[in-house]
Symmetry: none
Subunit: 141 residues, 4 copies
Amino acid sequence: MINVPRLTLDDARQIIAACKVKAKEIEVDMDIAITDDSGNLIAFQRMDNARITSIQISMDKAWTAAAARKSTRDYWNASQPGQPTYGINASNNGRFSTVPGGIPVFVNSQIVGGVGCSSGTPDQDELVAQAGVAAFLDTLN
Amino acid sequence: MINVPRLTLDDARQIIAACKVKAKEIEVDMDIAITDDSGNLIAFQRMDNARITSIQISMDKAWTAAAARKSTRDYWNASQPGQPTYGINASNNGRFSTVPGGIPVFVNSQIVGGVGCSSGTPDQDELVAQAGVAAFLDTLN
Amino acid sequence: MINVPRLTLDDARQIIAACKVKAKEIEVDMDIAITDDSGNLIAFQRMDNARITSIQISMDKAWTAAAARKSTRDYWNASQPGQPTYGINASNNGRFSTVPGGIPVFVNSQIVGGVGCSSGTPDQDELVAQAGVAAFLDTLN
Amino acid sequence: MINVPRLTLDDARQIIAACKVKAKEIEVDMDIAITDDSGNLIAFQRMDNARITSIQISMDKAWTAAAARKSTRDYWNASQPGQPTYGINASNNGRFSTVPGGIPVFVNSQIVGGVGCSSGTPDQDELVAQAGVAAFLDTLN
């Protein structure tokens, strides 16, 4: 047997709080989802003007990032026409997100969770997700 | 709590009526779907020669337009290979439509519903959806 | 080859209108769905206070009634524990409705469509669906 | 058009906080989901020992309660064998929850959202959901 590190609910809430600070700074309400190392949802918040379509997309980004241990931007690149994972976005009942904004969370090189943001441009989504991860990692030092 | 505006059934029926006038004018029978601000269906009509495949597509276009507060044409553009939201069409169980013909309905800059048309070319679909929205907005003046 | 009779959109609209008269009479806003002989949706209306859960349920009732050529009440009876079709409600991805309120429409003993109502008690739903079918059949005489 | 009231994210967070107080009191970690009046998710938290199966179940309970404007316990009763809505739990792709623990939130007789809890016994789930709703309604006085 092995022991695996994993985000707690309090960790997830802290990440969401940091995401929201960044979302307010750039003035884009976001859907924000946090999963554990296995891709299972820990926490979610939809800011009041965030998109309804992005509820699922933010969860899918967080799931993809944690469960594949890669950012969804990496898959955006890798799934373009002619690229190695072309078509992968339809897998897992369409839950495999290839839209930037999903970030895996690693601690000591081990996956502990995933963060997914959606409602802005994918660049904005990723910026907000990264802000949440960065703030969390800062607390570990 | 907040208060949000929303189309009524009578509003939706009026939009469908105007869509049908345009559909007859261009001689293309259409599937026409109207959702509320949250993406939930209010009304649907399939003209006698409209496509069966377009039943779901028209509903998906209306849902996407209302729930993302953007036209599906915007997503057609933004989800081309190499574009920011490439791959997004597989999300939400494939319900996220990136085919033109879905139009959000805004009143005083607030989302109140969505209109989705399908059965013609996407350009025709969009023309018919726009005619429905324009006729509705005219009645508010 | 064969020729099959089928409801038109105008037929479907007429049925919905009659359903709404009955729904208003009993003071229960309804979701009302009409399918053709093949179970494909022709028209749908959600009265302003009808349930959101019943959007899909009304469509499922209409689909079941037309596609199985039986009322959903017949299946409610036949799918009780120990009865012949027990468990059938999970079939077709859960689209097979066993809740009363779905009525097949027959003309000269041939299936031409289905009517599904939902939002009240199943007895109320069925009453409203029946009113729609009866009014339509009256117009054929 | 009509105007409808709706929970905000801050309302939803307050409800979750109150649910967690009750969950800790009875010593059962819970999955807690809050939707708006239309059934769209606003916020979700999984307490550290809450069940993974209950992530979806809590969301389904909240969706059912808001979108049907009834507690899921009412449907537990009404969907027993021989009862009026027997079989309804398979509808909406199985999203229609008939397990107690989903509570609609009404303000001035208008639906504004739904709360769904899962991980304990259904009675415990309902107790925790009710505590969240009660605490929220208290703040309105």
